[in-house]
């Protein structure tokens, strides 16, 4: 049996050593190897990089980036590791895990429960969609931070700062007031995750609703016959660019702007 490659994330050192002790205890029947150990979500993402991980044991309450947010980032990996949440006492989250059939452990963690959970994810891990659904139930509104890689470094962009997402050829860019970030995910995925805050205005563009300042005639639209309806572009708060609205999306965008 090949050893399961684990990611252990907990901000409390004794909690991490407890998990390592238990993993040693059950190594005979269930071989594991701790590939990465981290004290919070951000450290976990940084250290995990390209390291292959089968299972992530994730504490929920952590500084900087909590376990729910980390699980969202992990489920975007390919292949996505199985996620087992670990919590001392969070009735609300536990209920969400039960409802979505997501694996979790309660602190103090017991060796038998840990072995059961690992054995289960080895054979039938909770689907990524279940983990995402549980995360959405615990923390609605999608991720708080988006991950962008730049020259091998991981950058985290607060989702609340993003004015719009734009798909360009191979990549999606996220625009904040200050600059653009390259993301490695699809516009469709972003649209479903942030449906409450972002609005599709074009085949290749999602705009944050609260960033919209107004709209005007799109002067850069290609010349069209006089009879055609005018094309529109959105004016945004904080940046000078105008974003063209596609003819197909305009009725919906207009309806929302008029509300």
């Amino acid at each position: 049996m090949t050893a399961l490659r684990l990611l252990i994330v907990d901000d409390e050192a004794p909690a991490r050593s407890r998990l390592r002790n238990l993993l040693d205890d059950i190594a005979g029947e269930l071989p594991t190897a701790v590939a990465v150990e981290a004290a919070d979500g951000i450290e976990a993402l940084e250290k995990a990089g390209d390291v292959a991980i089968d299972v992530a044991l994730v504490d929920i309450r952590m500084p900087r980036m909590d376990g729910i947010e980390l699980a969202r980032h992990l489920s975007a990996r390919d292949p996505a590791p199985a996620v087992i949440f670990v919590t001392a006492y969070d009735q609300y989250a536990v209920k969400a895990f039960e409802l979505s059939a997501v694996d979790y452990l309660l602190k103090p963690v017991k060796a038998t429960r840990l072995a059961d959970a690992l054995r289960k994810v080895r054979h039938a891990p909770s689907p990524v969609a279940a983990v995402q659904a549980a995360a959405e139930a615990v923390q609605p509104g999608g991720r708080r931070q988006l991950r962008s890689s730049e020259r091998g470094k991981v950058l985290l962009v607060p989702a609340a700062d993003v004015l719009y997402f734009k798909a360009e050829l191979k990549y999606v860019t996220a625009r904040t007031r200050e600059r653009e970030f390259l993301l490695e995910e699809s516009l469709a995925q972003l649209e479903s995750e942030f449906a409450a805050r972002f609005l599709r205005i074009h085949r290749n563009c999602l705009v944050a609703r609260d960033a919209i300042a107004g709209f005007e005639h799109d002067h850069e639209a290609p010349n069209e016959p006089e009879s055609a309806e005018p094309r529109w572009a959105l004016i945004l708060r904080g940046v000078a660019e105008r974003l063209p609205v596609s003819r197909r999306q305009w009725p919906q965008v207009k309806a929302i702007l008029n509300q």
């Binding site: 901000d11 409390e12 050192a13 004794p14 909690a15 991490r16 050593s17 407890r18 002790n21 919070d40 309450r61 500084p63 900087r64 001392a88 006492y89 969070d90 309660l106 602190k107 103090p108 963690v109």
Partner: protein, 339 residues
Amino acid sequence: MASLFPAGSPRLPDFRNLGTWLRVLLAVNAMALVAVLVRARGWAGVPAEFAQLAAVVEPATLGGLLLLGAIRARLAAMSPAPAAAVVVAVAALAGMAFAALLAPLSPAQSQPWWHAGFWAALAACILLAWFDLAARAHAPAVTEARLMALTARIRPHFLFNSLNAVLGVMRADPRRAEQALEELAELFRVLMQDNRELVPLSAEIALARQYLDLERLRLGDRLQVRWAIDTCPPDALVPPLMLQPLIENAVYHGIEPLAGAGEVTIALARRQGRVLIEIANPVLEAGGGDHHAGNRMALANIRERLLLFFDLEATLATDSADGRYRVRIELPYRPGAPS
């Protein structure tokens, strides 16, 4: 906070309680009988006169009670003094309405229109005062029950995380694990004892230190604590389990979500006849919403216990400035017997 502690304001009876109705009817009939006796010139006329009066008083009382029962929820939502005024007004109206309604049946009597209303209002005042007194007589028991219910509870989050941490150090450092379990036991002994009496501040400080020691096992150097207790009177009496829940809040909301180390400051001092307590912790700029709900509940609990123990002489205030969240408590200095 006055609504939490209605001392000095009248307590209204429950107008849908059968016991209330029975008492009111009995009392009203007794008053009617007294009125008849006072007016009567001989024993012979008393039964007839009483029957005549009761014929007006009974339906008026029942009508008034029905109306009060119907608006009970609204009365409960009002502050006590206006609610009492409404009750008196309803009684007066019911009295006048039934007197007017039944006047044709006893044409012999011709009294001014306000007569019945006046007596009904007077009866209502007397009854309200009586109900209020009765409620006050029961109050110590109520207070005690409330104190029991308010006894601060430890967060399950803390208990389970601490146990997990003890298990985590058990193999590497058995002595530290032993010490932690001893501290946990002592903490729970205090939590489970009868916490209805004031305790000396020194006991609260000792308990807080033990609690902080347990938290240090989990959080390590992330938890920094500064005590400023040089001018603190160790014998000052304070509500039990006041300090520890406040420090637990400070750790939970101020230190745990922090990436690096953070400092909790605990300042205790005496100024003339007052004891001043201030606990401060760092605040995260992007404070989550869940932060405040639990915190407010713990603060409301302590605030209510302060009121029960010190009435209006104690105050609890919070503020948030310069990246720090502060809880300030002021209470009268009452030295306990030296033990």
